[in-house]
């Protein structure tokens, strides 16, 4: 944080998101193209807040059936057994298996919900023009962006199991509808992270500093 430094936007310049070339925006038009790499330019990602909200809300909606519906149907000689994520956690919870249970709990329940909450917090704080904890919020954003890809662990495990455990007619594993919602949550949160412009966090802080100056 260096309050003396000027952002490209404050100087009326646009930074190319692909090649980082600074250029003046085309006269009269808000969106131009990078003179070097022809990337579309804008001061900030267009409609970032709105898009991010849309994705976050969609993810939050999908999160409900992802946890209520079973993610996997195990058919054995004993009969079909459908388990939701939470049932899996309970099932795995045993004196020796609790670390695994904890991993599932963290990766499949806490992280997706945490991501949605974190994104919602970032959006609200940006919309309210909050200048506080900017550094923390950026760190949070980075963390959410980093974790995003790892949230697919559950989906991967499920798909691997489904493809590997096909011992017809003894045993077979099939994905259940919950899995699709779970994958949707992960994808939607990643899209939300992608559409969120982290620079917005600083914009309010900068404008406040300018005002104070």
């Amino acid at each position: 944080m260096s309050p003396t430094a000027a952002s490209a936007r404050q100087l009326g310049l646009q930074s190319c998101p692909a090649c980082a070339l600074l250029s003046r925006p085309a006269r009269g038009a808000e969106a131009g193209h990078c003179p070097r790499c022809d990337e579309e330019l804008s001061f900030r990602k267009p409609r970032s807040i709105e898009r991010t909200w849309a994705f976050v809300i969609a993810a939050a909606i999908c999160y409900v059936p992802a946890n209520l519906l079973p993610v996997m149907t195990t058919t054995t000689a004993a009969g079909a057994d459908s388990d939701t994520i939470l049932q899996g956690v309970v099932l795995l919870w045993s004196p020796t298996g609790w670390p695994l249970s904890l991993i599932v709990l963290v990766a499949s329940i806490m992280i997706p919900s945490g991501k949605i909450l974190a994104l919602a917090y970032l959006l609200i704080s940006v919309q309210r023009g909050s200048a506080e904890n900017s550094e923390q919020r950026v760190r949070l954003y980075r963390m959410v962006a980093f974790i995003g890809r790892w949230s697919m662990v559950d989906v991967f495990v499920d798909t691997f199991t489904v493809s590997l455990v096909q011992l017809q007619p003894l045993m077979s594993v099939a994905p259940a509808p919950g899995l699709f919602f779970f994958a949707a949550v992960v994808v939607l949160t990643m899209l939300a992270v992608e559409s969120f412009d982290a620079r917005l966090i600083w914009d309010s802080a900068d404008s406040r500093e300018v005002r104070h100056a």
Binding site: R51, A54, I57, I61, L69, A78, G79
Partner: protein
């Protein structure tokens, strides 16, 4: 196009109003879509849920909320949702979520039961539940009324309600090896099974419910006999050893067989739930119905070892009844120990026919007459050994015309029939008497006497030997005498010659004597007058 030369009034510049972006971004389609899909899933989920029912069980053993399924014909039609104890803690109340469109299954007489692995003699069922855990079986009823709260059955119904056939009721004093699922045989063909049994309210008999599959149920007529075909029926007869079984299955787990006697009239098929008697075995099943059997007492003096209740009573080898009880009694007055044996005679049932009876007389009178005449003609009861190996006895009536006369005292209940000791007992008694006499023989004295006699005998023998020597000499002398005699009578001996001449003389003398006699006969006067002339001629 306006003219540029014309001076224009000052024209206000348009107000630049920043364009409001009220139009929603296309990105909002995504959350709307997500909400729509979520709502659709929720709706289908709600729609896919059928009615919720409650089933009350005695025990929740093997049941698991959320896991246990309700199966009908192997198809899952519902899942158990909750299990809790009833208010009084006596029963288990379960709620189950049924599949959609199962409303028409849930009728008033629909039944539910827990399927656990059951290994009974006849069948091993529910093996799948060993791995999968128990499930709830279901049988759809036929009632018109629907129902949502059910009481679960403790044992699964053996016969599916849809199976064609008929139920019959059997009465039996003991269950034996019967159980639900015990097979029912008709001519060694398995045609049904035992579906249930219950003890009668008075506790004296059992009611066994059996199911006979169609089309075999038509062979059950009101005069059909059912008998317990459990195990192996070994019988050793004069024809050899005969083994009677229904099937390997019945050997292992028992069975019930039924048959209609070929001699019985052909009747239409019996109504469902007709009550039959379950006989112990085939022979008993086909015995004629008891015709007012009467009890009698036989008082045996000898040992009744080997005589047990159920032993046959035979009249010259024809069974006429059986032994009911064997007791013992002691007459204190003259200290007589005896064994009164109660028997039940049912001769007409067992094939003894009585000829030339007054048809008008009632049965009891007839029987009294028959028995009186039997006894009068020397019929006596005797214990006989039926089996040499086991020593089992039976009561045999036979005719002993030289037996002491006896009559039946009909005032007693039960009346007493005369007996005679068994052959074996008689032989025994005789042997004992002989032994007693033998015991009385004074062996010692006889021995002593014998010894002295023998000593005397020795002396006698010695003198006898001397005598024998003398005898030898005597015999030698006799020989000489005989030889001399021989010599005397030899043809060339002097004695012989003389003897011959003497004999000739005697012959002559005799002739002369005859002549004299003849002359005297003719001339008796010659004795006085002497010989006449003509007599001399």
């Amino acid at each position: 196009m306006p003219d540029s030369d014309t001076p224009l009034p000052p024209i206000p510049a348009s107000r630049a109003v920043p364009k409001k972006r009220t139009r929603l971004s296309l990105v909002w389609v995504i959350p709307i879509l997500a909400a729509a899909v979520g709502a659709w899933v929720a709706v289908t989920k709600i729609l896919s849920e059928g009615p919720t029912i409650t089933i009350v069980f005695q025990s929740a053993e093997g049941l698991e909320a959320g896991k246990t399924e309700i199966h009908y014909n192997g198809v899952s039609v519902g899942t158990l949702k909750t299990i809790r104890l009833s208010e009084d803690h006596q029963r288990v109340v379960t709620t189950a979520q049924m599949a959609p469109k199962t409303e028409n299954f849930l009728l008033d007489d629909t039944s539910f039961w827990v399927v656990r692995p059951r290994i009974s003699g006849a069948n091993i069922s529910g093996l799948g539940t060993l791995i999968s855990g128990s499930y709830i079986g279901m049988e759809i009823g036929h009632a018109a009324k629907s129902r949502r709260d059910f009481v679960g059955l403790e044992t699964p119904p053996v016969v599916s309600g849809d199976a064609a056939g008929r139920f019959f009721v059997l009465k039996t004093p003991t269950l034996g090896s019967l159980d639900t699922g015990t097979p029912l045989f008709f001519r060694h063909l398995q045609v049904g099974e035992v579906t249930a049994y219950a003890l009668d309210a008075d506790g004296k008999a059992l009611t066994v419910k059996v199911f006979v599959k169609a089309p075999f149920d038509q062979y059950v007529t009101p005069n059909t006999r059912f008998w317990n075909a459990s195990g192996v029926d070994l019988s050793l007869t004069a024809n050899g050893l005969s083994v009677q079984t229904q099937s390997m299955l019945s050997i292992l787990i028992g069975g019930v067989a039924f048959e209609t006697s070929a001699t019985d009239p052909v009747l239409p098929a019996a109504e469902a739930d007709t009550v039959f008697t379950l006989f112990d075995d085939r022979t008993k099943a086909f015995q004629l119905a008891a015709m007012d059997p009467q009890e009698f007492v036989l008082n045996f003096k000898g040992s009744v070892r080997g005589l047990t209740a159920g032993a046959p009573v035979e009249l010259r080898g024809i069974p006429v009844g059986e032994v009911i009880a064997v007791r013992a009694q002691l007459d204190v007055k003259n200290f007589e120990f005896s064994a009164p044996v109660t028997i039940r005679l049912d001769a007409p049932r067992l094939g003894v026919q009585v000829k030339d009876m007054d048809p008008k007389a009632d049965f009891a009178t007839q029987r009294r007459l028959v028995i009186d005449s039997l006894i009068a003609h020397g019929a006596r009861a005797q214990l006989q050994s039926g089996n040499l190996l086991t020593g089992a006895l039976f009561v045999s009536f036979d005719f002993y015309p030289d037996a002491p006369p006896a009559t039946v005292d009909w005032s007693q209940t039960p009346p007493q029939l005369p007996t005679i000791p068994s052959d074996l007992a008689a032989i025994e008694a005789r042997a004992v008497a002989i032994m007693k006499k033998l015991d009385e023989v004074p062996y010692k004295q006889i021995g002593d006497d014998l010894r002295t006699t023998l000593a005397g005998l020795d002396k006698t023998m010695a003198s006898l030997r001397g005598t024998l020597g003398n005898t030898d000499k005597l015999i030698g002398n006799t020989d000489k005498v005989i030889i001399n005699a021989d010599k005397l009578v030899a043809p060339d001996s002097v004695l012989g010659d003389q003897l011959a001449t003497t004999l000739q003389e005697v012959t002559r003398a005799a002739r002369g004597l005859r002549v004299l006699a003849d002359y005297l006969e003719r001339h008796p006067e010659a004795l006085i007058r002497g010989k006449t002339e003509e007599g001399k001629q």
